[in-house]
């Protein structure tokens, strides 16, 4: 049986990486052989997990038996991908091509696609009971879902059809009589062999199509079978990105049905209470009251935003309280979720099939 996959998505800065690590630690403590796949973790979190020198290969986390961790290395993943899917000669040419490097570095879905390939590899290795995937923040996390299809488009879509002038795949010869004359003309105007070189590069890239097509469909399948949760805070920017998940992602299996609001302040702060005690100085009382009323306004705002959000998309709402200090040890990571038993039960409890 394939392992359970938990995909944690959301905008950058909402605490996705920390939550993924916390879920990983919690799952390992429940006895599940767990692998957390993370992207670019913050320094302190990395050291909490002992992730100084991690790469695509999962390593056991010394501080937490049962837990392994891997960190996405985008350029290594791309290199591996090229070697997997291309003839050696083409692979070497591609890896040296400046356009290819630019594509790997900068194509918005590149990191997301590389993460998808890594996820599939870990799923198919069947070494784990649970894989927690902390997704790259590109496109508010949405890129992770759309990257497989977009990669297919990049290596075999519109571009190539245009260059070869027909839908017959892999006909390099055709390009010479269709697009190339036009590109040469264009290059003559622009002042260099820019477009022609790009076209040659794209034709090389085309040879990856069959491999990438197969692989990317496997990623799609794993994504459909995964449990996905969207993490956000009540701040406008992450929330706007979270909204895109529910508006742009087609409904169906794999589409997140749960939203986790992270960094939530206690609702009890909005209930006004008197602060009368002979031991409290007047200045202290005034300052404390003023401070509470400012934060109560924040809590009310968070509350409104949350309710509106879950009501609009009919979602399951889970919350994780604000913590004053970001966790710097596996114990602190586990503690983070102690206040959110519902979240743990939801994502780590028995699945509907098990029940």
């Amino acid at each position: 049986m394939n392992p359970r996959v938990l995909v944690i998505t959301g905008a950058g800065g909402v605490g996705k990486t920390t939550l993924s690590a916390a879920l990983g630690v919690t799952a390992a403590r429940m006895g599940l052989a767990t692998c957390v796949m993370t992207v670019d973790p913050a320094r302190r979190l990395a050291s909490a997990l002992g992730l100084e020198s991690l790469d695509n290969h999962p390593e056991p986390v010394t501080a937490q038996p049962g837990l392994s961790a891997a960190m996405l290395d985008v350029s290594a993943s791309w290199e591996a991908m090229v070697h997997r899917h291309a003839e050696p000669e083409v692979a070497n040419r591609l890896l040296q091509d400046p356009f290819f490097r630019a594509l790997a570095d900068r194509f918005p879905a590149a990191q997301a696609y590389a993460a998808g390939e890594q996820m599939s590899e870990h799923v198919e290795s069947r070494r784990w009971d649970l894989i927690v995937v902390d997704t790259p923040p590109a496109g508010g996390g949405l890129d992770f879902y759309t990257a497989p299809a977009r990669m297919r488009e990049v290596v075999g879509g519109r571009l190539l059809r245009w260059l070869t002038g027909a839908s017959i795949p892999g006909r390099r010869a055709l390009y010479k009589v269709t697009a190339r004359p036009a590109l040469r003309l264009a290059d003559a105007v622009l002042g260099g062999p820019l477009l022609e070189e790009i076209a040659e590069f794209l034709l090389d890239l085309r040879s990856l199509y069959d491999g990438i097509s197969r692989r990317s469909r496997a990623i799609d399948l794993h994504l459909r079978e995964a449990t996905s949760i969207v993490v956000t805070t009540a701040e406008p920017t992450p929330l706007r990105e979270a909204r895109r998940f529910f508006e742009e992602l087609e409904s169906g299996p794999g589409r997140p049905e749960t939203v986790v609001f992270n960094k939530q302040l206690p609702e009890s702060w909005t209930v006004s209470r008197n602060l009368r005690s002979p031991d409290i100085g007047t200045d202290v009382r005034i300052a404390a009251r003023e401070n509470l009323s400012r934060w109560a306004a924040e809590v009310r705002l968070q509350h409104e935003v949350k309710q509106e959000f879950v009501a609009r998309y009919g979602l399951h709402l889970l919350e994780v309280p604000w913590v004053d200090r970001s966790p710097t040890s596996v114990d602190a990571l586990a503690e983070l979720l102690e206040g959110s038993p519902e979240l743990v039960a939801h994502v780590l409890g028995p699945t509907s099939e098990d029940r």
Binding site: A42, S268, N291
Partner: protein, 308 residues
């Protein structure tokens, strides 16, 4: 004139060299920051402020979507500039219009000749070719600056992660193309961006770990390759001091007052730790409670105004 008056000003909050005048007294200012730190709100607030001072301002959203437009109380910015507030005109770059304009107005590709082929070739290749999409996008605000219809072009620039590939695009293209109009244009653009009298960059950060680390990475990169002049790093959402100390806190009973005070102190401590890692620059306060995006921009503009 207006410019001369601005040039004498400075921010009181500002403990270093960067000044508000430095941000407004340019032909073009880029505003960037990690996603979610408030860069669009700050872009909008600077636009409102410049307009209050009698400047004709164009706000350019460089990434499609909402951005600064939301803070200027318009639903969505169009490619055609629209007046959104007195003295403030706003637009958003959309790639296909920008590409068309780039070919016609910037490269002067004759309409009859292979423009159609070119624009088709470029539009499909722009997805993959390094620098093309970026140069076309950044070309728009630069073009508006050259046209000189506005006193100040304020650019709501792409977030930090993508910023450099846009700012460096003209240089990238000039390196890739050996000769001809694209190269000539790219060179002209890269020297325009590097002109520190005319163009500046403002980075926005909140005093949190990731925004600060990402900002530092960009600062290092700018140091190594000064494609544009850095004017200021604005620290946003700074909490007010709490007029209570630890012994005061101990007199408070358990409950919301004490919790909120402890929370405030904890966040303050975190903020001051990360604030120390940022270069000196203007600081903007945390705005508590409910604010619409337009209110946030107005309030920030008032704060800038008050500090001047």
């Amino acid at each position: 004139m207006v410019r001369a008056r601005l040039a004498t000003g400075g921010l009181a909050l500002n403990r270093g060299r960067p000044t508000l005048a430095g941000m407004l007294d340019r032909k073009m200012t880029f505003v960037s920051g990690k996603g979610g730190v408030g860069k669009s709100a700050i872009t909008a607030s600077l636009a409102l402020l410049a307009a209050r001072r009698g400047l004709r301002v164009l706000v350019v959203g460089m990434v499609e979507g909402i951005g600064a437009g939301l803070h200027l109380a318009t639903e969505r910015l169009e490619y055609i500039p629209h007046r959104v507030r007195p003295g403030v005109t706003a637009m958003a770059v959309n790639r296909s219009d920008a590409l068309d304009e780039y070919l016609r107005l910037q490269l002067h590709v004759p309409r009859a000749a292979p423009t159609k082929v070119l624009s088709r070739a470029l539009s499909v290749l722009a997805e993959t070719a390094p620098g093309i999409r970026e140069i076309v996008t950044i070309g728009k605000p630069v073009y508006e600056m050259w046209q000189g219809k506005y006193d100040l072009v304020l650019v709501d620039a792409p977030p930090l992660g993508q910023l450099f590939s846009y700012l460096r695009a003209p240089t990238t293209i000039a390196e890739l193309v050996p000769a001809g109009p694209i190269r000539a244009q790219a060179e002209r653009m890269s020297s325009a961006l590097a002109d520190s009298e005319a163009v500046s960059l403002v980075l926005v950060a909140t005093p949190d770990e990731l925004p600060v680390l990402e900002t530092q990475a960009v600062l290092e990169r700018l140091d190594a390759e000064p494609v544009v002049n850095l004017e200021a790093v604005v620290a946003n959402r700074i909490l007010p001091e709490l007029l209570l100390d630890e012994p005061d806190l101990a007199t408070l009973p358990d409950g919301p007052h004490r919790e909120a005070a402890e929370h405030h102190l904890a966040v303050l401590a975190q903020q001051s730790r990360w604030l120390d890692e940022l270069p000196d620059g203007p600081r903007l306060p945390y705005l508590f409670g409910i604010h619409t995006p337009a209110e946030v921009a107005e309030q920030l503009a008032d704060i800038w105004d008050g500090e001047q």
